[in-house]
């Protein structure tokens, strides 16, 4: 079953993870700087996607407003650095904290309503955040954004920036993995599978949903802050619904019933977007077409698709292999 998530962390996956980490560490050494910057973007997108997936895939709450919280993170770092000249550590740490606080407030309103209204409300709230950023010229720079943010010179070298991003993203993903594998994470999955029955076993639905929302907001804040450090500038576009679509598509493309889904999704999506955007100015049209194709024909995304194929291939070999591969 695709919906069932792995309970264990088998050894072959540890090997895979180790290989991946070594490859990621080698990226700036063997590839050109432009690829390192692309890889940095992928890492940040992977973190944003995984953060959103805590809500989307694990708790079954469809949010259309992740970009709002991502922008809160990015703008916190940007404003702390450029307006208050605070230390870099404080500016980066402040982002998830403020995103978490905004997440609690927005989430408190959003989880009051289920499914459809929840989706509407997240979209509306992210538009509020966008409007505030867009209109508050004195503080956020309005549609000019904030450029030439005084980030430490250390990050001007792309490979250092890449390693910094890699370290933070790896740390956050490990933390997220631990959280979704904990009893708390299992409770979230129970809510996704059957909210009614979860409530029968005396679990306070709204409280858990709010916790998932906040958790997701905190990590979206980290992703936003990382992107601010990476690009050295912030724009209201970060809060725009198009950015939310990017994150949703990343989850959908990779498959949101797998922890690794958004990571694979981020990689493929950023590569695809660069390739198609080079060819045509109507890139969004193709994005829409890809989304519809995925919804109609590949609902479990790339990771889901591969693990299904893997499961059937292994299933022919042995019974136990199928169980392992399908997770």
């Amino acid at each position: 079953m695709t919906k069932r998530l792995a309970r264990t962390f088998p050894s072959h996956r540890l090997t895979l993870l180790f290989t991946l980490l070594v490859l990621l560490l080698l990226v700036p050494l063997i590839l050109k700087a432009s690829w390192a910057s692309l890889a940095t973007e992928m890492l940040i997108m992977a973190l944003a996607g995984c953060a959103l997936n805590v809500m989307l895939g694990y708790t079954g709450m469809v949010s259309f407003g992740p970009a709002g919280l991502y922008a809160v993170g990015a703008y916190t770092t940007a404003i702390l650095l450029s307006r208050y000249h605070s230390s870099f550590v404080l500016a980066v740490l402040g982002a998830p904290i403020l995103a978490g606080i905004v997440g609690v407030i927005v989430g408190w309103f959003c989880v009051r309503r289920s499914a459809t209204y929840f989706a509407l409300l997240t979209l509306a709230f992210s538009q509020i955040i966008w409007t505030v950023i867009f209109e508050w010229y004195d503080f956020t720079g309005g549609d000019n954004g904030i450029v030439s943010i005084p980030i430490p010179e250390f990050f001007f070298t792309i490979s250092y920036c890449y390693y910094f991003t890699l370290a933070i993203v790896a740390g956050c993903l490990t933390l997220l993995w631990t959280i979704v594998q904990s009893p708390f994470g299992k409770t979230l999955q129970a809510i996704r599978e059957n909210p009614g029955r979860t409530e029968f076993i005396a679990i306070h639905l709204k409280r858990y949903q709010l916790a998932a929302f906040t958790l997701s907001s905190v990590f979206l804040g980290v992703a936003g802050s990382l992107y601010c450090v990476f690009s050295g500038s912030v724009f209201p576009d970060y809060a725009h619904w198009v950015k939310s679509t990017d994150m949703l598509v990343v989850c959908l493309l990779g498959g949101f019933y797998h922890f690794a889904g958004p990571m694979v999704g981020a990689m493929v999506y950023i590569l695809l977007s660069k390739l198609i955007a080079k060819q045509t100015m109507f890139w969004m049209f193709f994005l829409g077409a890809i989304i519809i194709f995925l919804v109609l024909f590949m609902r479990n995304g790339i990771v889901g698709f591969i693990s299904e194929k893997l499961a059937s291939a292994l299933g022919r070999a042995s019974e136990s292999g199928a169980k392992e591969g399908s997770r």
């Binding site: 009051r112 209204y117 509407l120 509306a124 209109e135 679509t245 994005l287 989304i291 109609l296």
Partner: protein
């Protein structure tokens, strides 16, 4: 603010509200019957707006071009809606609602980019047609006739929809499917056809709104998202799935936006958001909706 300014502002607020009502009520009916939240509804409205520009410029030499457009454009939009329902939405009714949202989100991108491809990124204008152009004096104040015409259209459509739902066989069928799909199906109602019909009706209303809006405003890209957010506010205020709720919500939103501009020009939309938040706290199911 003088009395004249206030009355003018109220009138333009209500007339914008009426256009929003046409869109929101379509969203609401579709949700009520199909249980699909059509995120692309704003895009369907925008397609209507571009078709209005397209038809009026193509028919420019024909007398009464706008009135022909008013018949043709919403029908074209309804046909587009029918195609979307039959080719795409129908295939995912039995899936998780998540996929509906994402599918209609994909449609936003496709429809938006198609409009950009066909009509370009510029603004287009359509002038108000005879005999509803110009201004008319009422009680010593002068009002644009077109705004009054829009209010008339909104009220006529509202009453028409109420009558359709309450007194006709078709309305009974729609209500039956809304109330209990399986039972209606067992009693011989062709449910898939009702679904297609209701979706087309909703799209026709959005197309009508799109056709009516350009003489008062402009046809431009990006109006899809602005409008869909406003529709969400309306249905949260009024209650999703409720006809009178959509009407009430639209009037409230129109007035709030019109007068909000006087208080804080840039953040007029914030008032609507604040009202929405207040309603969510006090009466989360909306003014005219039913508690879950």
């Amino acid at each position: 603010m003088t009395l004249e300014a206030a009355a003018g502002q109220a009138l333009s607020g209500i007339s914008v509200g009426m256009v929003l009502f046409l869109i929101a009520v379509g969203l609401s009916i579709i949700f009520g019957t199909l249980k699909v939240l059509n995120l692309a509804h704003g895009s369907i409205y925008m397609v209507g707006g571009f078709l209005c520009f397209g038809f009026t410029s193509a028919l420019a030499h024909v007398p009464g071009a706008f009135w022909w457009t008013l018949i043709l454009a919403p029908l074209a939009v309804a046909l587009l809606g029918g195609l979307i329902e039959i080719l795409l939405l129908r295939r995912i009714y039995d899936q998780d609602v998540l996929y509906q949202y994402i599918l209609t989100f994909g449609l936003i991108l496709i429809l938006g980019e198609s409009c950009k491809f066909i009509w370009g990124v510029g603004y287009h204008t359509v002038s108000a047609p005879w005999p509803v152009e110009g201004k008319i004096p009422i009680w010593g104040l002068s009002f644009p006739v077109y705004n009054l015409f829009l209010i008339g259209c909104g009220v006529v459509v509202f009453l028409g929809l109420l009558a359709l739902m309450r007194y006709t066989g078709l309305g009974r069928m729609i209500r039956a499917v809304t109330y209990n799909r399986e039972m209606a199906n067992a009693l011989g109602v062709n449910v898939p056809r009702v679904y297609t019909g209701v979706f087309m009706l909703g799209c026709w209303l959005a197309g009508l709104a799109g056709t009516l809006m350009p003489p008062m405003s402009v046809v431009a890209l990006g109006s899809d998202m602005a409008v869909i957010i406003e529709c969400f506010i309306i249905v949260v205020i009024g209650g999703l799935g409720s006809l009178p709720g959509a009407f009430l919500g639209a009037v409230i939103l129109g007035l709030l936006t019109a007068f909000g501009i006087y208080v804080i020009p840039k953040l007029a939309v914030a008032f609507a958001f604040l009202l929405m938040i207040a309603i969510l706290i006090i009466r989360p199911w909306g003014l005219m909706g039913k508690p879950e």
